[in-house]
Amino acid sequence: MIAAGTPLKISIAATAASLVLVLVVFELIRSRRLRERYALLWLLTGIVLVVLSAWRGGLNTIALWLGVRGYPPAVLFAVGLLFVILVLLHYSTVISRLSDQNVILAQRLALLEAKLSERLPQR
């Protein structure tokens, strides 16, 4: 049985799109609008997508491994989706940490204000 390969046009388009993603992320880091610690996952996403898009043989092979017959670029969607989920999950942890820290800040501020207004001794 012969599985269909990845069409050249799709490979080119996907590679271009992934490259744009990598470049945008890189530019955001360079201009300090995105911190490295939050950008790593995005860079990884971009690079994996670039590799899979450009390397048609590799994509076809992986598709075969996964049992994807007929349309190997479907693997690109799956990989892209997986990384989007990872990024979202990462953001949830970041938001949780930020909101915990926010609570602590609010509490310390409120306690400090109370101390100041009551002129209580520091203990």
Binding site: D100, Q101, V103, I104, A106, Q107, R108, L109, A110, L111, E113, A114, E118, L120, R123
Partner: protein, 241 residues
């Protein structure tokens, strides 16, 4: 009562009409008892009313929810060196004349934390069927986890000594502080006892809504409890207050 310094922590969110009465009642009942009202991002004059009534006031810059507010009160009590803390709700549900019952086990050193229970005395508190079932179920689950019989896992009428205060000032559950706090207490090998108390009844919504809400609440609490079982107990150092 003894000469120990004691304080009541009263969380309040937009309670300008009730807070002065609550503070007044606490003070009238026990003049030695300081009161700290934690105004949880109130947008009315709760803080001013509490201050005028003679309470210490801590103003949170925005609403943290009951757990965060109560913890702020605990942190205040911890920093100011109080030996005994009573937690008391700002809506008047907890009756000051019941205070001695809650404080007693902590004063005698029998417990690190004492919880006023509406149910362990047998009768007294009535509520809708769905609430009762929920309360029963929660009590069963918590009793199982804690390997100690408890009857009222949602009671906010509690007394703490300084050991329990230290724990809660540093780490207090924010979502369902009473239920999760009970489990936490026992996990940290603090001694918890329940004492029967009377409480004023709160207004309930329409029964159908209450039933649905109870189920939703139960699902959330049980999930939190279940996940909590697997949570690491260590407080991250940077989060310690």
């Amino acid at each position: 009562m003894s000469a120990e310094r004691r304080i009541a922590v009263v969380p309040a969110y937009n309670e300008e009409r009730n807070i002065a009465r609550v503070v007044g009642e606490l003070g009238a009942f026990d003049p030695e008892l300081d009161v700290v009202v934690v105004s949880d991002g109130s947008i009315d004059r709760t803080a001013e009313a509490a201050e005028a009534a003679g309470a210490h006031v801590v103003r949170l810059p925005f609403n943290l929810g009951i757990g965060g507010a109560v913890q702020t009160g605990f942190q205040y009590a911890w920093e100011q060196g109080y030996d005994l803390v009573v937690r008391c709700d700002g809506d008047g549900q907890h009756i000051p004349s019941e205070l001695p019952k809650v404080i007693a086990p902590v004063l005698t050193g029998e417990a690190d934390i004492a919880v006023g229970s509406r149910f362990s005395g047998g009768e007294g508190y009535r509520s809708s069927a769905s609430r009762r079932i929920g309360i029963r179920l929660l009590a069963l689950v918590v009793s199982g986890i804690a390997r100690q019989r408890v009857t009222d896992t949602t009671s906010g009428f509690q007394a703490l000594n300084r050991r329990a205060l230290e724990l809660f000032a540093a780490d207090y559950p924010h979502d369902y502080p009473e239920v999760e706090g009970m489990v936490m207490t026992i996990k940290h090998r603090l001694r918890l006892v329940e004492v029967p108390v009377l409480m004023r009844e709160r207004e309930h919504g329409r029964s159908s809504i209450t039933a649905l809400r109870s189920i939703y609440y139960m699902a959330k609490v049980l999930t939190a409890l279940f996940v909590g079982l697997f949570r690491r107990d260590v407080v991250p150092l940077e989060d310690r207050s």
